[in-house]
Every structure is written in C-alpha cells, then in structure tokens.
Subunit: 424 residues, 2 copies
C-alpha cells in the first residue's frame, strides 16, 4: 500500500479534517455491534418452520427404532446421510453430533492431548505445536492456547496457506501435530483452497506420524455470489496420497438453521471415526437425536439445504456489497486499507497500515461501533503487524451497517493519517 | 444369607429341578432386554407435547433477546430458574447446559485433569484417586478409568456410603480428589443419603484442598411411592461447613422428557460456576437455548415437572412391584438372594451368593434375557464378590418383565444350588 493523503492537504490539515468528521459521527450516538458473525433476525426467521416440524410420528427410524429413547451414540442414520451429503463423504465416515462443531473440534484436540490418535505414538503432551494460517478463526486458536499447544503463524494467501512454509515445517518438526484450515470462504479472508493446496496438504511428508489437518468446513454452502467454487475432497485426497487418517472434517448447521440449535458433524476415515466414537462414549450417551430428525424433516435432503442457503444469500449479499461500497467510496485509492471481496462466508477482512488496527478499534468503540478486537484473528490475540481487522456485516440492518462503515472509515482515515504523519 | 434348598430335596435333586425349569423357559425363545434403565414407550409418549410446544414467539427473552442466535453460553435465564428450582439452589448457582449431565460430569473431571479446579494446586495429574461407593453407576466409573484415575471401593449402605471409611481415607490421602455420589434413589441400590451422611460429607477434613463431591442428583423427582424422602442440600451443607467449593451438583431431564433430548445442569458455588463457565467457553459457544425454552414452555415451572413425574410413577411403579413380587415368590426365604425395594429411581439391586452373578447373567442370556453384565456396578467392571446384579424394570411391558423375571429367578436358583453343592 502507498499512503496518499489528498495532495492539496498537509498531514496536519488532513488530520484535522478526519478528526472533525469523526467528532461529527460520534455526536450521533450510534450503538452498533459488529463484533461477531451472527445472522440477522431476518435470517433466523427463515428457519422458524423447524421449531414445530417434528411430530411424534417422525421420531422413529426405518425399522421402528424409537429415537426418543437412549441409543445411537454417533447419531441417527437419517442425519448421517444428510450431513454426509453436505460434507461430500459417505455416511459411514460421519458422526452426527450435538449442537456445536466447536465442541467436536475442542474434544478432538482434548482427546488427542489425553490419549493420542490413531497412528500416533501416544498423547499429544509436552510441546505439541499447531500451524495456524493467519488471519484465522479466534476460537480455533483459543483451543490451542488453552491446552498449551504452541501456535505458529503461517501466511494465508487467496488460495490457502503458504504451502512452501507448511511443507517445510511439517516435514521438519515432529512436534507439529496439526494445522487449522477453513477450506472454503475462510474465516476471515474468504480464501478458497485451491486443488493444488489441497493436494499438497494431503500428500506432504510429515515428521509426525499422527499429524492431523483440522478441516473446519464451516461455510461450504454459505455463498454470496453465483460463483460457486468447489474445494477438492480432503478425505479423498488424503486417502489417495496414502494418508487416510490425516484429516478431521467438521461442520454444523449453526449458520444454516439457528445458531446453537443446529447439528454438528465430524467426518473422517474409518479409523478416526471409530476412535472418536470410542472417546465420545465416555462423555455422553449420545447426541440430541430428535433435533437431528428435526433437521432431516425440515430440509428433506441436501438439496433442501442448498435451497435454504439461497435465501440466506439473498439477505446478506446486499450487506456485504454495502460494506464493500463504503470501503471503496471512503478509502478507495488512498493507500490506507486493502480488503477482500469474498465469494462467501461471514466476514470481510481488512488490512490497514501496520500499527493501526488496535487504534481504529478503540476509536470506533468510542464512537459507538464495537468491532472485533484487533489481533483476534491471530494466535494469542497478537497480530504482529497490528493491521488486520475482521468486519462482520451480517447482523446489523443495512442502514446501521452503513452508519457503522462511516465510523469505521473515518477512524481508519484519522489513524492512518496520524501514523503517516509520525513516520513522515 | 443362609441358603436353604427345599428340605425334602438333595442338592442333586434340587439342581435337576432347577435345570428342568430353566430348560423349559429356554424353549419359549424369549428376547428381552433388561440391560439399561431406559424409559418405556408409554413414558416417552408423556412428553410428546414438548416436540411442538415452542413457537417462534417463545424464542425471546424478557428483554427481547433473540434465543435463536448466538449468546448465553451458560444457558438462558428461564432455564436456569427452572433447573435451579429442580435442584433446590439459586439460579446464579446454575449452568443450564446441553443434553447430557454425563457430559457435564465428564468435562468437569477432564477440566480438572487438564487444569485443576478452584482452591487446588494444579491439574489432577499423576495418581489422582476417587472414592466409589459400590455398587454404583458404571458410567461414573468409566470416566475415571478412561482418565487413569484410580478408583477405591467404599461400601454403600441404605443411608449412603460408609462414612467411617470415607472420612478416614479422605483425611489421610491428598491424592483422593473426589467421590461419586447419587444422593437420592442411588443407582442401583435406591439408597437415600441421610442428613447425617450429607453433613459428614460436607464437613469432613480432606487432605486435598481441592477435594470434590460429584453429586449426581439424577433421580431427585423420580419417585415410586408416596414416601418422598428429602435429601439435605449438599451445597448449603458444604457452605455451612466452610467448604463452599466442595460439591459439584448434576442433573438432567433425560428421564423426565426424552432421553438424549433433555437439558442438563451443573450447580455449585460461585467460584465453581465461574470456573466451569470459563472452561466451557473454549469448548462451545453455548447450549441449545431453544431446547431449554422448549422445556420451560412444556413444564411452566418446577411444579409442572413434579406433576409430570407423577405420570411416570404411575407407569413404572407397577413394574417395580412386579419384579419385587417375582423375586419374593420365586426366591423368598431361600437364602439365595437379597434385594432392595427402592422408593424411587430406575433400578432394583440384587445381591446373590458370592460367585454367582456372572454365571446368572450368562445363563439368562442363553435363555433370551439380556441383563446388565455382572460387575458393571463396580469400578473396572469387577465385583470382588461377583454377587451384585442390577435389574432395570422400566423398559419392558409388564408381561415381558414377568417372563424375564421367571428366567432370572430360575437362573439364580440353578446357579445358587450348584454353588452350594460345590461348597457342601
């Protein structure tokens, strides 16, 4: 980026102008929350039909199994079939779980820390490390930090993580046990993993025999445009490369039906699924099977899910467009920010000038717009360049969003101007 | 027990009679599952109304909070209120969780193993031990075994565990970190903890500063008779004794509404709840709040729960009576078995002559009646005297139950006769 203040203004004048603009906006007493990728009320209304779709006669399996009772610790067959189709795998490679894919990820890492995984040499204790493409998802990083797993930043490109770095590190260090990946519409950059990246991840040499790819397929149907990129199946790619147990795949319907009330899934090789089912059997008698059936009845099949996602896209695509338009209008060509125009997902990732992100968040907060804290998209909450911010456009109504973007852009303008003045 | 074969028969004749009886029953080709405490279909039907009770307008909090969205990581206030009343504690001492109290217990122990608990000196690693009143609940024991926590048997009496032993061991050994308790209608004996036992548990000296009581209040409203014993509040007793953080209380509605689809709760001191909420925040964004609201709407309040439990009792009390009648009719006065007549809960615990339990299970299985494996009610699946069996009367229709009891009693008669013949 090359910072360019208006050529007719000195830094002092540019700072005064930006300050005045922000002061004016602050006077409007906005209260807008842009912190998290939450669906809007209009989106939630799309799924109200699921609340009452399940009738008593829907609670039975094909052979009369009573899903209202105990049993089916890895989920009911109907839900496995739906989730397998959603994930692009076979139903016997799937566990249909509870309401949270984050729990499945957390518990998978905890299980590895406590007792290891298939193909390994024991628990992942003492000095285990994960590669973390950055910027990435804060809750992935929080799991590692909590468990004392050292996180190593790897740059994220538009087609996935920097594979030269990933390959070199994974081949070299047996303490590297995993990598976090959001393969499609990655949180927050919107990156879509290319076939080459998937194949390199699947086939690379790993010093750890129990190296795992944590494949959080959170947004596979969460399109924003007619471009519908397909990501190669990591399960098939790894199996083809001779590493069938390398990937753990995760997803949930949290941003499809209602957050916290969805159904989540873990998919993987037969060995991984058997291991996960065994570990789960100590922690629970089983998932909420009736909520699984509720989803099955509501969607019918995976085509029903896809059709439902079109309705989400109709609601949120204009919001993403509004954010992009505001960024372009206010910051375009000024060299203060670059941002992605994602094809799907829940975020717009913005890179500012180095050292500006935290201050922008602080100033925006003072002006009534709460942003995700700077650094949240990095391990340990530390963005080494203090420049990345994650905007979450889905929750606010579009007028609010435009107000929030006014504040955001004014903050960026002021902070960037000051930064440039400092270093001029 | 004093074994008494019919005085007019020799051991050989008694064995032949019992053998013939069992052979005749085996010829009937029964297929009856008595393994687990599962509710019957009739019981499940009681809660069918919950499936469709929640309408879109019920998904909002008192201040308009949208429970269909993310948030409320420790549950919604309405569910906390209901569960707190059920547990006899204040709502701020409660986490309203997901569908499984077993998960809450498992995760609490895992959390302690990984990072300790309030008042402790660090993770429960390396040689941690639990006291296990026996017979007890197999899934409690499985959690400890899985995590490498050494289990120590303590005898269970009708009013709770043998407190002289408990007090002596807990005071002496800082490695003893916990004890499993089912305080009311204990699994499987039906024991109800007396005030004295509760007070001694609450007030005893513990060598470990982070000693914990895992208080699985699974059956607090699961009455079978008009006798409605009250158990002293362990939370208040511990607070009164100066050990407010000692108890973790658990419960769920799994055997109230539908198993696997209920709501679970963890209750405890402010410090324990804050610690548990913090630990949970890494594993999940929150529980299924709409299922919590479904329960709130279905029951209204705790009186609604109590009224609902009366209907369960009407269905299952006759089954418990049938089992007791069959045991009395077939084995009464023979010195082959003693059993409890529980006032509530889900099981009837039977003690046979030493060394007979596994063989009874084997023979019953051959005759088409699947019983809980012998030893299941003990840590490591090992009943040192091989004598305790757990009968689960709730699932089978009453005619099936009577058939199963015919088989069970015939097996007991045959195995006991052979055992006595051996040692005669």
């Amino acid at each position: 980026m090359n910072f360019k203040p208006r050529s007719d203004l000195s830094f002092d004048e540019a700072e005064e102008t930006a300050k005045a603009r922000l002061a004016e906006l602050r006077g409007r007493n906005y209260r807008i929350d842009m912190t998290r990728g939450k669906p809007s009320r209009e989106q939630l209304d799309l799924s109200n039909g699921i609340l009452t779709v399940l009738r008593p006669e829907d609670c039975f399996g094909a052979d009369g199994e009573d899903y209202r009772n105990y049993g089916f610790g890895t989920g009911v067959p109907e839900a496995k079939e739906l989730l397998a189709a959603y994930m692009g795998v076979r139903p016997d490679h799937v566990i249909a779980g509870g309401n949270s894919s984050l729990s499945l990820m957390h518990d998978t890492v905890v299980g590895a820390v406590l007792s290891g995984v298939p193909g390994g040499t024991g628990p992942w204790r003492d000095g285990a490390k994960f590669l973390c493409p950055v910027p990435g998802y804060d809750r992935h990083f929080a799991i590692c930090e909590r468990l004392g797993i050292e996180m190593i930043n790897v740059d994220m490109h538009d087609d996935g993580p920097d594979m030269d770095t990933v390959e070199a590190m994974v081949a070299d260090d047996p303490a590297i046990k995993g990598i976090w990946c959001v393969p499609k519409y990655s949180n927050p950059t919107g990156a879509v993993y290319s076939d080459t990246v998937v194949d390199r991840l699947a086939g690379m040499d790993a010093a750890a025999s129990d190296f795992r790819i944590f494949w959080d397929d959170a947004y596979t149907m969460h399109h924003l445009t007619e471009a519908r990129p397909r990501v190669t199946s990591i399960l098939e790619a790894c199996a083809g490369a001779g590493y069938p147990d390398r990937p753990y795949m995760f997803a949930s319907t949290s941003k499809i039906t209602h957050p916290g009330t969805g159904i989540a899934t873990l998919a993987g090789s037969a060995a991984n699924i058997a291991d996960a089912a065994h570990k789960m059997s100590f922690a629970t008698i089983g998932p909420d099977k009736l909520n699984q059936m509720r989803h099955v009845r509501f969607f019918g099949d995976v085509d029903g899910m896809a059709a439902h996602m079109e309705k989400h896209a109709e609601i949120i695509a204009p919001k993403f467009a509004a954010v992009d338009a505001a960024l372009t209008r206010n910051l375009g060509g000024k060299g203060m920010a670059t941002w992605r125009k994602p094809l799907g997902g829940y975020f717009i990732s913005v890179d500012l000038l180095d050292g500006c992100a935290a201050e922008v968040v602080r100033l925006a907060g003072e002006a009534g717009v709460t942003l995700t804290p700077a650094g949240a998209t990095f391990p340990y909450g530390r963005d080494p360049r203090d420049r990345n911010l994650r905007l979450a456009p889905t929750l606010p109504p579009i007028e609010e969003l435009e107000r929030a973007m006014d504040v955001f852009c004014a903050c960026v303008e002021l902070v960037s101007t000051r930064k440039m003045k400092e270093s001029a």
